[in-house]
Symmetry: C2
Subunit: 330 residues, 2 copies
């Protein structure tokens, strides 16, 4: 039996997208997608999906993961790539105080892509969506030079909606989880060392809880300094970040020692949440923090003045950090 | 004055995406996007958009236009590319009986792309969305080897939702507008002749009106024969299409003469709507047809049996058509 299974598995590995075709792959896929979501009137496979939303505000976002830009072959397993594609979008929804509800995935892949690889990508995506209470309701497949996933995520806001604007001088700045793990993995992988891109954290519940007390919120995708800069510009305020307070990921600390905090301050793709909290809400924040399910660390404060981020080292002296953050064309 | 304007325009043409950067381009863009949509709580520029939907069912779709796959440089002007990206998605929403409400655009572009080109693409997209009563609420920009637009469109269904399933033996098949114009343009462009990809038709109002009487509906993106085949498989029926009844586009007839109908039957990217209508609704259909704003032509009928499409030539004899439709990997 196991021999038969092995032969079948090896045959499946050999089947390429170019052999099965667009409609062949999609047809097979549709047979496997679960449909337990009662809010879905028309699921994948028609011209468009139809769903019944609640009366809550809808939260809409889109984000792309592209081979050669966001990852390279060998950096991430196919199922983890699917999970990652969902989670980076869920992070944007969480940063507004929303919860994911329905997802669309536009896949681009070369004809040589093994069908089994794409199957694992989509299975990982659908599993991570399910875990967040969301459903994959549609998508699209086109031929292209490299593997790329563009996700559109529709969420709902169960409570307050929080934007990047709204931070005020005197607010304290807090960050969930730890920073620098993704940047450390990318640095190791670029240097030819063995590693894997870590999965972005699941911050949906934290985002909803923190939205109740935050003046402003953003997720850390371009690096803490740059993303706090975005928050400052939207709010018309400045900010100070204390390097020695940053929650630095263990892998980052192991790799960089004393230089870890300065690296973690500008490393991208951590997908943690940053919030600005007014002094009068700190009591409520303390209560929320106890049942948050992740670390929450005070890392700085909002100050009056032009929208700039000052990074402070030991003793409150201005600290130098590397070119902050990430821009696709810089 | 005109000289100054010319110099300014020529300088603008020279600015590349790689010079302005991701955040630079997005920042400039945000200043220009209109925000007249009162349903939009948070527009572009934050982590995600927030909108207030009605209680109607939501219609969700995504589709990609990729340089080298769906178009080549010179086939289409930047503004028309933006319009096209909106319209191919609006077509999917119309085919469910929905109207577009909010759009997200994920843009991929090489660093060498002139900023003015991208500006025109987005302006075309936003203008076409506005014309359909929809608003561009968010997006994303990544570096990539070629220009590509992946759109996610959220619509609402004001009345009945119609799927591909539901066609029954005895229904008649009808198609809006004319077929073969896009295929003709692509054939001419591939042969090195001067031409432009025609803009997909605007069929939102027609889709809503036809949804009231249709057993099933689909839009023609892969070619009439293939898309009626999708409708047949979803409905568990067969179909017959009469070649001499097809509404063939004038440009197609000019290029191919007697062979035009056979070409139009399998040509892709027409984005017309096909419906299956029960006999008892033909009176209502006649009334709807008068105020449809586009042609509506009876092209065949639904028959019992296995889900296959028979194409009939003059005298009802089986006609041969080219390999039907389009598959990205075939």
């Amino acid at each position: 039996v196991s021999d038969t299974r092995d032969r079948r598995a090896s045959r499946k590995r050999r089947v390429r997208l170019g052999t099965l075709g667009e409609h062949g792959w999609i047809g097979r896929l549709l047979d496997r997608l679960p449909s337990a979501d009662r809010r879905v009137v028309v699921g994948p496979g028609d011209d468009a999906a139809v769903v019944r939303a609640s009366r809550r505000p809808l939260v809409l976002t889109t984000d792309t993961l592209r081979e050669g830009v966001h990852f390279r072959q060998g950096w991430i397993r196919p199922a983890a790539l699917g999970r990652r594609a969902f989670l980076v979008n869920a992070s944007d929804v969480a940063a507004m105080g929303g919860t994911p509800a329905w997802a669309l995935v536009a896949v681009e892949a070369p004809a040589r892509t093994p069908v089994a690889t794409l199957d694992r990508v989509v299975a990982g995506f659908a599993a991570e969506a399910r875990r967040a209470g969301a459903t994959l309701v549609g998508g699209n497949l086109v031929a292209g030079p490299a593997l790329a996933l563009t996700v559109a995520l529709v969420g709902e806001a169960p409570g307050r909606v929080v934007t990047r604007a709204g931070a005020r001088a005197g607010d304290t700045l807090w960050v969930t989880g730890a920073l620098g793990a993704a940047g450390t993995a990318v640095a190791r992988l670029r240097a030819g060392r063995r590693d894997r891109l870590p999965l972005p954290p699941r911050r949906t519940a934290a985002g909803v809880a923190l939205a109740a007390v935050a003046h402003a919120m953003i997720d850390v995708s371009d690096g803490l300094v740059q993303d706090v800069g975005h928050l400052c510009r939207a709010s018309g305020v400045g900010a100070e970040l204390a390097l020695d307070r940053l929650p630095v990921a263990a892998s980052c600390r192991r790799m960089l020692g004393a230089r870890a905090a300065a690296f973690a301050a500008v490393a991208g793709e951590d997908y943690e949440l940053v919030i600005a909290v007014p002094a009068r809400a700190l009591g409520r924040l303390a209560r929320i923090r106890r049942r948050l399910g992740c670390r929450l660390t005070e890392v700085g404060r909002v100050v009056a003045g032009r929208p700039a981020v000052r990074v402070l080292g030991p003793g409150g002296r201005h600290a130098r950090v590397a070119h902050p953050g990430f821009d696709h064309f810089r």
